[in-house]
């Protein structure tokens, strides 16, 4: 009432408590901290579509505003937020009925593809990389993006996806193997090393 709160000094969890009471400054601060990160996460998770990523990020914040009581203050706010975001992405995949590649699919890839040198245009490589990441299974993709885009720890990812840390490591390893198989054509020693991969 008499003392102005310094919102930027409050933890995410305290800000969430304030948001639940309807304090707009708390929303400002949480938005500043998380909007861009979540937007980037959705952007990579949902096929690099700006509008879709914006809509999903906004929907996520609306969920936070509408149902703040669902947040358990004993949990970390960021973990809770990423859990909701990941579930939203899974629902979207389910809704679109997107098919994903598994490691077995790559075993059947043609071996006659000509090798593409690594030094080839970076844009082409990144385009293929984006496609390959897009086609990862949701569970693998979530772990991969949370790890290498959001730079979360294995422990944090395991809390977000609600499975043991060992499973997260396994998924990350699996994702890397799939990507290396799918993008093997960019390895100059592709033909020679295909079996090794």
């Amino acid at each position: 009432m008499f003392f102005r709160k310094k919102y930027h000094q409050l933890s995410d969890e305290k800000l969430m408590e304030q948001l639940a009471k309807g304090h707009s400054k708390a929303l400002d601060e949480l938005y500043k901290r998380y909007y861009e990160r979540l937007y980037n996460y959705f952007f990579r998770m949902l096929g690099q579509e700006v509008t879709k990523a914006e809509d999903f990020a906004q929907d996520l914040f609306l969920k936070v505003i509408e149902k703040p009581h669902l947040f358990d203050t004993k949990r970390r706010f960021s973990t809770w937020l990423y859990t909701i975001a990941s579930n939203m992405c899974k629902n979207e995949y389910r809704r679109q009925n997107i098919s994903f590649f598994s490691l077995d699919d790559y075993e059947q890839l043609s071996t006659d593809l000509p090798p593409i040198p690594l030094q080839l245009d970076q844009q082409i490589f990144q385009k293929h990389l984006a496609q390959a990441v897009d086609q990862l299974k949701p569970a693998h993709k979530i772990c991969f993006i949370l790890r290498y885009q959001q730079e979360l720890s294995i422990q944090e990812i395991s809390e977000i996806v609600e499975c043991p840390a060992g499973t997260v490591k396994s998924r990350l390893h699996h994702a890397l193997k799939i990507l290396s198989k799918q993008l093997a054509v960019f390895n100059p020693r592709y033909s020679k090393n295909k079996e090794a991969l």
Partner: protein, 195 residues
């Protein structure tokens, strides 16, 4: 293999195969070939770089979210009443209300009934008459005349000289050469203007 993933990931992200120590090379080669290590390192670094590239700038959604928050938390009168406040705030409000009530209290009219009193009224029964009394006052005129007086002292030069041994009392000679008051009768008469 998956359990060693964190260790392998650190090597992949930070070291070329050639930069690995012999022990690390042996450890890696148990899991991956040299070519696979190079390929996966390249892939991991590229993926990290690509993923961390900022997505195209999005428009701000903050205004819409703020509007939603305000709509969500529009308070009714009952909500205001039920809002919990700190104890010191409650005490301050109570004190303030007390002061306002005291300030606005109605002015009480107090009627005091006194016993009847005997009042003595004075009447003028004395006449004071003023009388002007004229009194004569004689003011004598006086005149003071200054006359030179004959010097009757003798100058002794030795009295001015410094004495080193003994102070001497210097007195006027006993034989006066002046005139007595009797002899100055005429002078006195003149002074007093008796003639």
């Amino acid at each position: 293999m998956s359990q060693d993933y964190e260790q392998l990931e650190q090597l992949l992200l930070h070291k070329d195969f050639e930069q690995l120590s012999p022990q690390e090379q042996i450890w890696v080669q148990k899991r991956l070939s040299k070519a696979a290590y190079r390929h996966q390192r390249h892939l991991l670094l590229q993926s990290q770089q690509w993923l961390q590239t900022t997505a195209p700038k999005s428009s701000s959604q903050l205004a819409a979210l703020q509007a939603k928050l305000q709509q969500q938390h529009q308070k009714s009168f009952v909500d205001y009443i039920q809002t919990p406040i700190a104890l010191y705030q409650a005490a301050l409000v109570a004190a303030l209300v007390g002061v306002i009530i005291w300030w606005c209290r109605p002015i009480a009219i107090q009627t005091i009934t006194e016993p009847p009193q005997v009042i003595y009224k004075t009447q003028i029964d004395t006449i004071v008459q003023e009388k002007i009394v004229v009194k004569e006052k004689i003011i004598y005129k006086t005149k003071t005349i200054s006359l030179p007086v004959k010097v009757d002292t003798v100058y002794l030069d030795f009295a001015d000289q410094p004495s080193y041994y003994q102070d001497k009392t210097t007195t006027a000679p006993t034989k006066s050469t002046g005139k007595s008051l009797k002899e100055t009768r005429q002078l006195m008469d003149f002074v007093m203007e008796t003639n």
